[in-house]
């Protein structure tokens, strides 16, 4: 039972980290970035490839994985979002363009087999792989009847520290003020001399870096890296998390992540594995119907 609660916290941390990036983009742009789950997967895939196929050190690979994810944030902005803003497209158009990019990223990894065009990026095709033991530092402790693996335990402080830092940046720095101004009213922000496009690029870079890191942590802790981890594990759950916490609210995303982790593990223990997914989505549905502003959204208008 205690082990189950620990698992809930591990998986909740990953959900939270993923959802913080999701909700950041929604808070600033009012757009759901559906390529976020592909970035999650890309971070994990790049790190795995560097460690296992290229024999690089784990820490170096992590940094490159996060950097590639962040760069993908720029790609999302320049390919999928900025041209649509220029043409004053309805927000629903951005949904389709980010889906298109997600398709491309997943298909590229999926086709990465020895000898193929994407072999430099990934060689395991659609298969699920895990870091072989010994490639990543992973001491294990036993406390009472609990098993603590470093790879899982580390997720918690990493997530909490990063989310605190992000909260501080947004609340108390010049950049954060700029982000909040753009979220509030892009037009007014531009009139006040803010470079709105740059602020949006920055939002996507931060969001995607966090998404990539969440992917790496997921891949390390759960030993499951495949082209589909983003789509299958976090894409829709990320939506559930940001709705539970309140769309656009960062503390809400954090609490929502842990809450979803607890709900899922609770459903697993009480009802068995087959009901796990259904319970999470029923919770999402009920939350929206009963309290659409989420746990932390005081009003729907206010964000971040």
């Amino acid at each position: 039972m205690d082990q189950q609660i620990l698992n809930a916290i591990f998986i909740g941390s990953i959900y939270a980290l993923f959802a913080v990036g999701y909700t950041l983009v929604f808070g600033v742009l009012d757009i759901l970035n559906l390529a976020h789950s592909a970035v999650f997967m890309l971070g994990a895939a790049v790190t795995y490839s560097l460690v296992v196929n290229r024999g690089q050190a784990f820490w170096f690979a992590c940094i490159v994985g996060i950097a590639v994810s962040a760069a993908m944030g720029l790609v999302i902005e320049h390919v999928c979002l900025r041209p649509l803003r220029r043409r004053k497209a309805p927000p629903i158009a951005a949904l389709i363009s980010t889906i298109g990019l997600a398709l491309i990223i997943v298909a590229a990894i999926e086709q990465g087999q020895p000898g193929s065009f994407f072999a430099w990026l990934w060689v395991d095709g659609p298969n699920s792989v895990a870091f072989p033991s010994g490639t990543i530092p992973n001491p294990t402790w036993h406390v009472g009847d609990l098993t603590l693996e470093a790879s899982k335990v580390a997720i918690i402080p990493i997530s909490i520290v990063l989310m605190l830092v992000l909260g501080y940046v947004i609340r108390s720095t010049q950049v954060g003020r700029g982000l909040r101004a753009v979220a509030e009213n892009p037009r007014a922000a531009r009139l006040m001399g803010l470079d709105v496009d740059r602020m949006i690029s920055l939002t996507l870079v931060i969001s995607s870096a966090l998404g990539g890191l969440a992917g790496i942590l997921f891949g390390v802790a759960l030993g499951d890296i495949s082209p589909y981890i983003g789509r299958d594990n976090v894409e829709i759950r990320g939506l559930a998390v940001i709705v539970l916490g309140g769309m656009g609210s960062i503390p809400g995303a954090v609490v929502g992540g842990y809450l979803l982790g607890l709900i899922e593990v609770g459903a697993l223990v009480v009802l068995g594995s087959s009901a796990r997914g259904g319970v999470a989505f029923a919770a999402l549905f009920l939350m929206l119907v009963l309290r659409p502003q989420g746990l932390f959204g005081a009003q729907l208008r206010e964000r971040i």
Binding site: V79, I96, I104, A107, A275, F281, V289, P292
Partner: protein
């Protein structure tokens, strides 16, 4: 290229060799029309796959247990989907925009993962065998139904109902102040869309020997695909989503050479269309791309929803 060469030089052989594709395009067009109705009334609902599942399972289960005729099965599926539409619509239609989209995603996934995968009667995730399916003979039925559906949707958008929906889409508050019963008209749109989705689901089940409760079929993947039809084709005109369904469904056949990289090509295509024509292929100004310059311009249409 082979795809178009065969289409234009030998339509009969094309029809024979692509029967399943054409049937799928027909089903997807009905689904796209279902999506069109909710978008036309200004609601971003992704609930269609849930109602498809209701329609499909109702029709197949009736056939399996009671051996009732096909028409009755489909009718029952449609009615049941409509009833579920009312039950779901009552609580969720207070939500707007992306909140409505997420609530409907919650509905379809709770239905699929929570109910369909756990009830003994729906096969608990193993799916259902449907021995009385008719993949080849069903195509005429599907295309006939599509024509009827399109005619109905066209008439609806031209009438009082369509005018009320367009008013709600453009400005809900203004519509309310003009005495339009916003909640009622939204509900009508939602339930009609549920009925069409249930109909498409029941028809699709008739084309397949197996009802598969996978994500591609009744999950979010399908919902997003249907949304893609509508947005890519253009949701301001009733033909837009149908064009979108036609284009997106036939993409894998058109780009046959891409083979394994088909999803890369699809992704590039989606981004290109939406970036260069955000209002969709059949967007503002109707069929502006293919209209010859001497053709008289009609009055300007209302802007696309969103």
């Amino acid at each position: 290229m082979d795809f178009f060469i065969q289409l234009f030089t030998d339509p009969v052989a094309f029809w024979n060799s692509h029967t399943l594709l054409i049937a799928q395009i027909g089903i997807n067009s009905i689904l796209a029309s279902s999506m069109f109705i909710v978008l036309y009334s200004g609601q971003l609902s992704l609930a269609a796959p849930g109602f498809m599942a209701v329609g499909a399972y109702t029709a197949v289960l009736m056939d399996l247990y009671w051996h009732t005729p096909l028409a009755l099965n489909i009718a029952a599926g449609v009615v049941f989907a409509g009833v579920v539409g009312v039950l779901v619509g009552l609580p969720v239609l207070r939500l707007r925009g992306v909140f409505l989209a997420i609530a409907t995603i919650g509905f379809i996934e709770a239905l699929r993962l929570g109910v369909i995968l756990n009830l003994p009667i729906t096969g608990e995730g193993l799916g259902l065998k449907n021995p009385s399916a008719d993949p080849l003979g069903g195509i005429n039925l599907v295309l006939g139904c599509l024509v009827v559906v399109l005619f109905l949707v066209w008439r609806l958008t031209k009438g009082r109902l369509g005018a009320a929906w367009a008013a709600i889409r453009q400005d809900e508050l203004a519509a309310l102040s003009q005495g339009i019963h916003v909640a009622r008209y939204k509900m009508i749109a939602f339930v009609l869309s549920a009925v069409l989705a249930g109909f498409a689901g029941a028809l699709e089940a008739h084309l397949n020997f197996f009802v598969d409760p996978g994500d591609q079929q009744y999950g979010v993947t399908r919902a997003v695909q249907i949304l893609t039809f509508a947005v890519l084709g253009g949701s301001g005109h009733f033909l837009g989503p149908v064009v979108g369904a036609l284009v997106v469904t036939s993409l894998p056949w058109v780009f046959e050479q891409a083979q394994a990289y088909i999803n890369v090509v699809t992704g590039v295509f989606l981004i290109a269309v939406i970036v260069f024509r955000p209002q969709g292929i059949v967007g503002r100004g109707g069929l502006a791309i293919i209209r010859p310059w001497w053709w008289p311009r009609r009055n300007v249409r209302a802007p696309a929803p969103g």
